[in-house]
């Protein structure tokens, strides 16, 4: 322990033990400094100034970086790695021309055979997934609980998985397409990215979007597959084969284009998709997220968080006496979970972190 008696303000501010006291709520350090100040009360001025100095220095070093920005950056790291590694492979593929020709012929043969055998039945979820795992490292999430489950996707989009449903998605999405595989039912809120469409593959139906929110219901044992739209535009197409990836626009022109409050129904055994207008347009605030509206006009943080808790089935931890009454005006329907949090927190100058499945929000209030 240093002899603090001859310390100046700047000396205190540089001392590790002192900084530790300012920054944390360590009881042992607290006791030491309280005790020390009682012994040397004339040093109070220096100590208090040093405390402030440390706080200023810490604030000076901080920066506003949201978890959302970090998520986006992480994705770009893996994208760049993927691009570089794939380029490397292409260069390494220097095979004699005749060999290449032979391979192409063989592949063509396989492809024909494949199309032939698959013309009648659509691929199953498990086949789609095992095929896709050649291309990606896939994560599979299964909701075995009785309630809905929030899944945060690598691009910041969210999927709210209904009970008994399974969703597979890659660790990081490819450069040209974002692809996920579903059996069961999920509600999606997709980050807008026109250059990189988002595809949901199910055993019967493929859904393509650029950025919007919608629900897909495709249980293995159900007679029908249902896709309904909450915001934005969605294209729906019969799943034709295992080959996933950016589909030709002309494929989708054979499918259906859906607008908000419309849904596509596909009955198994039928060849066509049928478009319907939903009987109950999503005007009223329903209990499920696909009917909820997230339009806030001077709503308090407490009200908003309680709605989000219900919608995403995730709990919020925050000091309601500090930020609970902060008002927010925002239109967040269709935004992914992370984006909603990001915008709300920006509005009230708070920060959030997701720890052990809980959202921890901290802020200084808005008085």
């Amino acid at each position: 322990m240093n002899n603090y008696l001859h310390f100046s303000t700047e000396d205190f501010a540089q001392d590790e033990y002192f900084i530790g006291w300012v920054a944390s709520t360590n009881i042992e350090k607290e006791a030491f400094w309280q005790n020390w100040l009682e012994t040397y009360p004339f040093k109070r001025m220096e100590v208090e100034a040093a405390r402030q100095l440390v706080l200023i220095a810490q604030r000076a070093a901080e920066s506003e970086i949201s978890d959302y920005d970090i998520q986006v950056l992480k994705e770009s790291v893996f994208e760049k790695i993927e691009t570089i590694e794939n380029k490397g492979k292409r260069i390494a593929w220097k095979v004699p021309l005749w060999a290449a020709a032979a391979v192409v012929t063989a592949l063509l043969g396989l492809a024909l055979l494949y199309n032939f055998t698959n013309q009648r039945s659509s691929p199953k979820y498990s086949q789609l997934v095992s095929n896709a795992s050649k291309k990606y490292v896939l994560n599979e999430v299964e909701n075995k609980s009785k309630v809905t489950m929030l899944v945060n996707l690598p691009d910041g989009s969210s999927a709210i998985l209904r009970k008994g449903s399974k969703l597979s998605y890659p660790n990081h999405f490819g450069l040209e397409a974002r692809e996920v595989f579903l059996t069961g039912e999920a509600f999606f809120e997709i980050v807008r990215s026109p250059q990189r469409p988002f595809y949901v593959y199910t055993n019967e139906v493929t859904t393509k979007v650029l950025g919007t929110s919608f629900n897909v219901r495709a249980y293995q044992d159900d007679k029908e597959v249902l896709v309904s739209v909450k915001t934005g535009r969605v294209s729906v197409l019969k799943t034709s084969g295992l080959e996933t990836g950016p589909q030709e626009e002309k494929n989708f022109s054979e499918g259906l284009m859906l607008l908000p409050n419309q849904q596509a129904v596909f009955e198994k055994g039928q060849t066509n998709l049928v478009k319907q207008t939903k009987s109950q347009p999503g005007q009223s605030d329903g209990r499920h997220i696909d009917q909820m509206r997230f339009e806030y006009n001077e709503k308090t943080i407490a009200e908003i968080f309680s709605q989000l808790e219900q919608a995403y089935n995730i709990s919020f931890v925050y000091d309601s006496t500090v930020i609970g009454d902060c008002p927010v005006t925002a239109s967040l329907t269709g935004e992914p979970f992370n984006q909603k949090l990001n915008l709300i927190c920006k509005a009230v100058r708070a920060k959030y972190e997701i720890v052990n499945g809980k959202v921890i929000v901290t802020g200084d209030g808005c008085k």
């Binding site: 540089q14 208090e48 200023i56 000076a60 920066s63 950056l73 790291v77 790695i81 570089i84 100058r349």
Partner: protein, 202 residues
């Protein structure tokens, strides 16, 4: 997520992840990113124009992955990442350029991102505080800002800071002393007096 204490356990955990990453485990790279991205970005924003920082942090992680076959198994992971970032940032920037850009950048930061998203809400006292802080910061030299950042945000010891900046420990100590003397002007006296009296009454 910034770690509260960078202790012995954390060092070992980093090293385990590092070795897994060197063996070709991409998830380990992801975890290292999760642990260090925020810390590195924060440090980056304090020493360099902001438009370069994200790219530099991206390059650091892309490069350690691509060069994993040539990297040592036994390193101080945290220190190594800081050094890589520093190199990535200062590559191709002259010091003079840096001095100019940093100041304008800090000014922009102080008004706290007036993007469309934050436009709807603003708080006067917050702005006032930020303005004072940015005034305090712009009085510091780039090196003083960097040392303050490493000492008070990254919790590095003087010895580590000296190694990172390739300077003598004594030089770092002097820089820190000067920086604190400058910042001290912004410790408000009225608040101080209030605190002083308040605590005495208690």
């Amino acid at each position: 997520m910034k770690r509260q204490d960078y202790d012995h356990e954390a060092v070992n955990e980093d090293l385990t992840l590092w070795k897994q990453m060197l063996d070709g485990d991409k998830t380990a790279l992801g975890t290292l990113f999760d642990i260090y991205a925020k810390e590195l970005l924060t440090y980056g924003y304090r020493i360099s124009p902001s438009e370069l920082v994200k790219d530099a942090v991206q390059d650091v992680f892309v490069n350690i992955w691509l060069r994993r076959n040539t990297l040592s198994h036994d390193i101080k992971v945290r220190f190594y990442l800081y050094r890589c970032l520093r190199r990535a940032l200062f590559k191709g920037i002259s010091t003079e350029e840096l001095n100019n850009t940093i100041t304008t950048d800090l000014e922009r930061w102080a008004v706290s991102e007036n993007s469309a998203e934050t436009d709807w809400i603003s708080s006067e006292s917050e702005n006032h505080q930020n303005n004072q802080l940015s005034e305090a910061l712009s009085g510091l030299s780039p090196r003083e800002r960097e040392v303050i950042s490493l000492k008070y945000y990254s919790d590095m010891k003087l010895r580590e800071i000296a190694a990172l900046l390739n300077l003598k420990e004594q030089t770092i100590a002097n820089t820190l002393q000067n920086a604190l003397a400058k910042l001290r002007k912004y410790v408000s006296h009225s608040v101080l007096l209030f605190w002083f009296l308040g605590e005495k009454i208690l």
